[in-house]
């Protein structure tokens, strides 16, 4: 079993829809949780960063962490064609040197 599971998609939704991207994990020691966005042929860019459980909002993006269920989510409101990209979740234990990444979900927003 992988430490982090992420549905690779692809996921295709109409412009303006609410998008929900999810990851599950098995290691309860993970404390820091991240979402990266990767456009085609580009390096991943950090989108959201949260510590422990709870919600964090940044514009149209909301990250949720549920440590009791070992489940994290990224919500995109009012989705735009420019949101079309691959989204990767990542997480790390306190004091660790290496992130553990999900496989990435490929998202397409159709105009």
């Amino acid at each position: 079993q992988k430490e982090v599971e992420q549905d690779p998609g692809p996921l295709s939704v109409p412009e303006g829809a609410i998008v929900s991207l999810n990851c599950t994990y098995s290691n309860s020691a993970f404390q820091y949780f991240m979402w990266y966005r990767q456009y085609s042929r580009k390096g991943p860019e950090l989108l959201m960063y949260t510590y422990s459980s709870g919600n964090k909002e940044d514009g149209r993006f909301t990250a949720q962490v549920d440590k009791s269920s070992k489940y994290i989510s990224l919500f995109i409101r009012d989705s735009q064609p420019s949101d079309s990209a691959t989204y990767l979740c990542a997480m790390i234990r306190q004091g660790a040197q290496k992130l553990v990444f999900g496989q990435g979900t490929r998202l397409t927003i159709n105009p």
Partner: protein, 111 residues
């Protein structure tokens, strides 16, 4: 602010030829440095990471090596490339090990 530079952006190399990819980070001291590979349609694979000059940890036995000759310089090398070395190579850095920032990547095609 911190920046990361990675080059070359694209290269096509024959089988059996050597490889050198370079990465430098500006605006920080003693960062953790990472080399990842991303095969087409697949997730990120950590190849090497370094917590200091001359300190290299290898994650996957393979045809590649890494070196850190200076605090903010990280080099990925191969003496003889294989077809299977083709892929998207990403350098990344972190300050405290709880999130990382990626460069723009290098596309390598071995022919």
């Amino acid at each position: 602010s911190q920046t990361i530079h990675q080059w070359p952006a694209t290269l096509v190399q024959p089988v059996g030829s050597p490889l050198s990819l370079e990465c430098t980070v500006e605006g920080t001291s003693n960062p953790n440095l990472y080399w990842y590979r991303q095969a087409a349609g697949r997730g990120l694979q950590l190849l090497f990471y370094s917590v200091g000059i001359g300190q290299i940890s290898s994650e996957v036995p393979q045809n590649l090596s890494a070196s850190r000759p200076q605090d903010r310089q990280f080099i990925l090398s191969s003496k003889k490339l294989l077809l299977s070395d083709s892929g998207f190579y990403l350098c990344a850095w972190s300050e405290v090990g709880n999130t990382i920032y990626f460069g723009e990547g290098s596309w390598l095609t071995v022919v």
